[in-house]
Symmetry: C2
Subunit: 140 residues, 2 copies
Protein backbone atom coordinates (compact mmCIF):
# COMPACT_ATOMS: atom_id res chain seq x y z
CA UNK A 1 0.00 0.00 0.00
CA UNK A 2 2.81 2.34 0.88
CA UNK A 3 4.41 1.57 -2.44
CA UNK A 4 1.18 2.36 -4.22
CA UNK A 5 0.99 5.77 -2.60
CA UNK A 6 4.60 6.49 -3.41
CA UNK A 7 4.11 5.43 -6.99
CA UNK A 8 1.06 7.57 -7.24
CA UNK A 9 2.96 10.57 -5.94
CA UNK A 10 5.77 9.98 -8.39
CA UNK A 11 3.31 9.72 -11.25
CA UNK A 12 1.73 12.99 -10.21
CA UNK A 13 5.07 14.74 -10.00
CA UNK A 14 6.07 13.35 -13.38
CA UNK A 15 2.87 14.60 -14.92
CA UNK A 16 3.37 18.06 -13.53
CA UNK A 17 6.86 18.09 -14.93
CA UNK A 18 5.69 16.99 -18.32
CA UNK A 19 2.98 19.61 -18.29
CA UNK A 20 5.42 22.32 -17.35
CA UNK A 21 7.73 21.15 -20.03
CA UNK A 22 5.28 21.16 -22.87
CA UNK A 23 3.59 24.25 -21.59
CA UNK A 24 6.61 26.45 -22.18
CA UNK A 25 7.50 24.91 -25.49
CA UNK A 26 5.84 24.47 -28.79
CA UNK A 27 2.81 22.26 -28.45
CA UNK A 28 0.73 24.15 -25.99
CA UNK A 29 -0.24 26.98 -28.29
CA UNK A 30 -1.51 24.71 -30.96
CA UNK A 31 -3.74 22.61 -28.80
CA UNK A 32 -7.00 23.69 -27.31
CA UNK A 33 -7.53 23.76 -23.59
CA UNK A 34 -10.21 21.14 -23.96
CA UNK A 35 -7.80 18.64 -25.40
CA UNK A 36 -5.43 19.31 -22.58
CA UNK A 37 -8.06 18.77 -19.95
CA UNK A 38 -9.33 15.68 -21.67
CA UNK A 39 -5.90 14.11 -21.68
CA UNK A 40 -5.39 14.88 -18.02
CA UNK A 41 -8.84 13.60 -17.18
CA UNK A 42 -8.22 10.35 -19.00
CA UNK A 43 -4.82 9.88 -17.43
CA UNK A 44 -6.07 10.46 -13.92
CA UNK A 45 -9.09 8.32 -14.43
CA UNK A 46 -6.89 5.40 -15.36
CA UNK A 47 -4.55 6.22 -12.51
CA UNK A 48 -7.49 6.44 -10.12
CA UNK A 49 -8.89 3.10 -11.19
CA UNK A 50 -5.53 1.50 -10.83
CA UNK A 51 -4.85 3.07 -7.44
CA UNK A 52 -8.30 2.22 -6.20
CA UNK A 53 -7.87 -1.41 -7.13
CA UNK A 54 -4.46 -1.57 -5.54
CA UNK A 55 -5.71 -0.08 -2.34
CA UNK A 56 -8.82 -2.17 -1.98
CA UNK A 57 -7.59 -5.54 -3.12
CA UNK A 58 -5.51 -6.21 -0.03
CA UNK A 59 -8.40 -5.45 2.25
CA UNK A 60 -10.53 -8.00 0.52
CA UNK A 61 -7.78 -10.58 0.60
CA UNK A 62 -7.22 -10.25 4.33
CA UNK A 63 -10.91 -10.21 5.08
CA UNK A 64 -11.35 -13.47 3.25
CA UNK A 65 -9.14 -16.13 4.82
CA UNK A 66 -9.00 -14.54 8.26
CA UNK A 67 -10.75 -16.61 10.87
CA UNK A 68 -12.11 -15.27 14.11
CA UNK A 69 -13.64 -17.77 16.45
CA UNK A 70 -17.24 -17.10 17.25
CA UNK A 71 -17.03 -17.44 21.00
CA UNK A 72 -20.48 -16.04 21.49
CA UNK A 73 -22.00 -18.86 19.53
CA UNK A 74 -19.70 -21.30 21.20
CA UNK A 75 -20.96 -20.24 24.59
CA UNK A 76 -24.53 -19.99 23.49
CA UNK A 77 -24.49 -23.61 22.44
CA UNK A 78 -22.68 -24.59 25.62
CA UNK A 79 -19.81 -26.28 23.86
CA UNK A 80 -16.96 -27.02 26.25
CA UNK A 81 -13.27 -26.63 25.54
CA UNK A 82 -12.76 -30.31 25.13
CA UNK A 83 -15.73 -30.68 22.89
CA UNK A 84 -14.47 -27.87 20.74
CA UNK A 85 -11.16 -29.62 20.48
CA UNK A 86 -12.85 -32.81 19.36
CA UNK A 87 -14.87 -30.80 16.89
CA UNK A 88 -11.71 -29.43 15.37
CA UNK A 89 -10.17 -32.85 14.92
CA UNK A 90 -13.44 -34.15 13.56
CA UNK A 91 -13.31 -31.44 10.92
CA UNK A 92 -9.86 -32.62 9.93
CA UNK A 93 -11.46 -35.85 8.85
CA UNK A 94 -10.16 -37.95 11.73
CA UNK A 95 -12.10 -40.98 12.91
CA UNK A 96 -13.20 -41.27 16.51
CA UNK A 97 -10.38 -43.71 17.16
CA UNK A 98 -7.83 -41.32 15.70
CA UNK A 99 -9.21 -38.48 17.77
CA UNK A 100 -8.94 -40.67 20.83
CA UNK A 101 -5.29 -41.40 20.07
CA UNK A 102 -4.67 -37.73 19.47
CA UNK A 103 -6.08 -36.70 22.80
CA UNK A 104 -4.79 -39.68 24.77
CA UNK A 105 -8.25 -40.69 25.88
CA UNK A 106 -10.37 -43.73 25.23
CA UNK A 107 -12.60 -44.20 22.23
CA UNK A 108 -15.62 -44.11 24.50
CA UNK A 109 -14.72 -40.66 25.73
CA UNK A 110 -14.51 -39.34 22.23
CA UNK A 111 -17.82 -40.94 21.46
CA UNK A 112 -19.35 -39.15 24.41
CA UNK A 113 -17.96 -35.84 23.26
CA UNK A 114 -19.14 -36.33 19.72
CA UNK A 115 -22.57 -37.36 20.93
CA UNK A 116 -22.83 -34.21 23.01
CA UNK A 117 -21.63 -32.16 20.08
CA UNK A 118 -24.30 -33.60 17.83
CA UNK A 119 -26.91 -32.73 20.40
CA UNK A 120 -25.63 -29.19 20.83
CA UNK A 121 -25.21 -28.59 17.12
CA UNK A 122 -28.54 -30.25 16.45
CA UNK A 123 -27.17 -32.60 13.85
CA UNK A 124 -26.96 -36.35 13.55
CA UNK A 125 -23.89 -36.93 11.45
CA UNK A 126 -20.32 -35.80 11.77
CA UNK A 127 -20.24 -34.38 8.28
CA UNK A 128 -23.19 -32.19 9.14
CA UNK A 129 -21.55 -31.23 12.41
CA UNK A 130 -18.46 -30.07 10.55
CA UNK A 131 -20.55 -28.21 8.02
CA UNK A 132 -22.56 -26.50 10.72
CA UNK A 133 -19.51 -25.66 12.79
CA UNK A 134 -17.85 -24.00 9.82
CA UNK A 135 -20.96 -22.06 9.07
CA UNK A 136 -21.16 -20.88 12.67
CA UNK A 137 -17.44 -20.08 12.56
CA UNK A 138 -16.64 -22.39 15.41
CA UNK A 139 -13.81 -23.82 13.33
CA UNK A 140 -11.71 -22.37 10.47
Amino acid sequence: MTRTIIFYGVALAALVLVLKFIEYRFIVRDLSIEFYLGAVALFFTVLGVWAGRKLTRKKIVTVGPAFVLNEVELQRLGISKREHEVLGLMAEGLSNQEIADHLFVSLNTVKTHTSNLFLKLEVSRRTQAVQRAKQLRLIP
Copy 2:
Protein backbone atom coordinates in the same frame (compact mmCIF):
# COMPACT_ATOMS: atom_id res chain seq x y z
CA MET B 1 -22.14 -1.95 -14.25
CA THR B 2 -24.09 -0.35 -17.00
CA ARG B 3 -25.37 2.24 -14.58
CA THR B 4 -21.84 2.97 -13.50
CA ILE B 5 -20.76 3.65 -17.05
CA ILE B 6 -23.76 5.85 -17.69
CA PHE B 7 -23.13 7.78 -14.50
CA TYR B 8 -19.53 8.18 -15.44
CA GLY B 9 -20.44 9.54 -18.85
CA VAL B 10 -22.91 11.95 -17.30
CA ALA B 11 -20.26 13.15 -14.87
CA LEU B 12 -17.88 13.71 -17.73
CA ALA B 13 -20.41 15.66 -19.72
CA ALA B 14 -21.31 17.70 -16.68
CA LEU B 15 -17.69 18.55 -16.11
CA VAL B 16 -17.20 19.64 -19.68
CA LEU B 17 -20.25 21.85 -19.39
CA VAL B 18 -19.00 23.40 -16.20
CA LEU B 19 -15.63 24.00 -17.75
CA LYS B 20 -17.14 25.60 -20.80
CA PHE B 21 -19.29 27.72 -18.58
CA ILE B 22 -16.56 29.08 -16.40
CA GLU B 23 -14.18 29.35 -19.28
CA TYR B 24 -16.20 32.01 -21.04
CA ARG B 25 -17.00 33.92 -17.90
CA PHE B 26 -15.07 35.60 -15.21
CA ILE B 27 -13.04 33.11 -13.27
CA VAL B 28 -10.91 31.59 -15.92
CA ARG B 29 -8.68 34.56 -16.49
CA ASP B 30 -7.76 34.86 -12.85
CA LEU B 31 -6.74 31.28 -12.32
CA SER B 32 -3.59 29.66 -13.58
CA ILE B 33 -3.67 26.71 -15.89
CA GLU B 34 -1.98 24.62 -13.23
CA PHE B 35 -4.82 25.13 -10.82
CA TYR B 36 -7.22 24.13 -13.51
CA LEU B 37 -5.36 20.98 -14.31
CA GLY B 38 -4.91 20.15 -10.67
CA ALA B 39 -8.61 20.39 -10.01
CA VAL B 40 -9.41 18.23 -13.00
CA ALA B 41 -6.76 15.72 -12.00
CA LEU B 42 -8.12 15.49 -8.49
CA PHE B 43 -11.67 15.17 -9.66
CA PHE B 44 -10.90 12.44 -12.12
CA THR B 45 -8.70 10.61 -9.71
CA VAL B 46 -11.56 10.39 -7.26
CA LEU B 47 -13.92 9.51 -10.05
CA GLY B 48 -11.49 6.87 -11.27
CA VAL B 49 -11.15 5.29 -7.86
CA TRP B 50 -14.89 5.27 -7.44
CA ALA B 51 -15.52 3.87 -10.90
CA GLY B 52 -12.76 1.33 -10.51
CA ARG B 53 -14.24 0.10 -7.28
CA LYS B 54 -17.70 -0.05 -8.73
CA LEU B 55 -16.52 -1.95 -11.74
CA THR B 56 -14.26 -4.35 -9.94
CA ARG B 57 -16.22 -4.96 -6.79
CA LYS B 58 -18.54 -7.35 -8.50
CA LYS B 59 -15.61 -9.16 -9.96
CA ILE B 60 -13.92 -9.40 -6.62
CA VAL B 61 -17.08 -10.46 -4.89
CA THR B 62 -17.64 -13.11 -7.45
CA VAL B 63 -14.00 -14.12 -7.43
CA GLY B 64 -13.94 -14.44 -3.66
CA PRO B 65 -16.90 -16.53 -2.55
CA ALA B 66 -17.68 -17.45 -6.11
CA PHE B 67 -16.65 -20.87 -6.95
CA VAL B 68 -14.95 -21.89 -10.13
CA LEU B 69 -14.77 -25.58 -10.60
CA ASN B 70 -11.31 -26.96 -11.09
CA GLU B 71 -12.08 -29.08 -14.12
CA VAL B 72 -8.45 -29.77 -14.76
CA GLU B 73 -8.08 -31.49 -11.43
CA LEU B 74 -11.41 -33.17 -11.90
CA GLN B 75 -10.24 -34.67 -15.13
CA ARG B 76 -6.81 -35.49 -13.84
CA LEU B 77 -8.32 -37.58 -11.08
CA GLY B 78 -10.75 -39.15 -13.52
CA ILE B 79 -13.83 -38.23 -11.55
CA SER B 80 -16.99 -38.76 -13.56
CA LYS B 81 -20.01 -36.49 -13.66
CA ARG B 82 -22.07 -38.77 -11.49
CA GLU B 83 -19.29 -39.18 -9.00
CA HIS B 84 -18.90 -35.45 -8.80
CA GLU B 85 -22.58 -35.16 -8.12
CA VAL B 86 -22.34 -37.65 -5.30
CA LEU B 87 -19.34 -35.78 -3.98
CA GLY B 88 -21.37 -32.60 -3.81
CA LEU B 89 -24.18 -34.21 -1.88
CA MET B 90 -21.67 -35.89 0.38
CA ALA B 91 -20.25 -32.48 1.20
CA GLU B 92 -23.73 -31.34 2.19
CA GLY B 93 -23.59 -33.86 5.00
CA LEU B 94 -26.01 -36.31 3.45
CA SER B 95 -25.74 -40.00 4.26
CA ASN B 96 -25.38 -42.54 1.50
CA GLN B 97 -29.02 -43.43 1.84
CA GLU B 98 -30.07 -39.81 1.53
CA ILE B 99 -27.87 -39.38 -1.51
CA ALA B 100 -29.46 -42.45 -3.02
CA ASP B 101 -32.92 -40.98 -2.46
CA HIS B 102 -31.79 -37.71 -3.94
CA LEU B 103 -30.51 -39.29 -7.12
CA PHE B 104 -33.20 -41.94 -7.42
CA VAL B 105 -30.73 -44.77 -7.38
CA SER B 106 -30.08 -47.58 -4.95
CA LEU B 107 -27.92 -47.36 -1.88
CA ASN B 108 -25.49 -49.78 -3.46
CA THR B 109 -24.94 -47.50 -6.40
CA VAL B 110 -24.11 -44.64 -4.14
CA LYS B 111 -21.74 -46.86 -2.24
CA THR B 112 -19.97 -47.75 -5.45
CA HIS B 113 -19.62 -44.09 -6.34
CA THR B 114 -18.33 -43.16 -2.92
CA SER B 115 -15.89 -46.04 -2.96
CA ASN B 116 -14.53 -44.93 -6.32
CA LEU B 117 -14.32 -41.38 -5.06
CA PHE B 118 -12.31 -42.45 -2.06
CA LEU B 119 -9.92 -44.29 -4.32
CA LYS B 120 -9.56 -41.35 -6.69
CA LEU B 121 -9.19 -38.80 -3.94
CA GLU B 122 -6.88 -41.12 -2.06
CA VAL B 123 -8.82 -40.91 1.16
CA SER B 124 -10.62 -43.42 3.32
CA ARG B 125 -13.36 -41.42 5.00
CA ARG B 126 -16.05 -39.19 3.68
CA THR B 127 -15.05 -36.31 5.89
CA GLN B 128 -11.57 -36.45 4.41
CA ALA B 129 -13.02 -36.69 0.94
CA VAL B 130 -15.04 -33.54 1.50
CA GLN B 131 -12.03 -31.78 2.95
CA ARG B 132 -9.83 -32.77 0.05
CA ALA B 133 -12.44 -31.93 -2.55
CA LYS B 134 -12.83 -28.45 -1.12
CA GLN B 135 -9.12 -27.96 -1.08
CA LEU B 136 -8.88 -29.05 -4.71
CA ARG B 137 -11.83 -26.81 -5.55
CA LEU B 138 -13.90 -29.66 -6.85
CA ILE B 139 -16.82 -28.45 -4.76
CA PRO B 140 -17.73 -24.99 -3.35
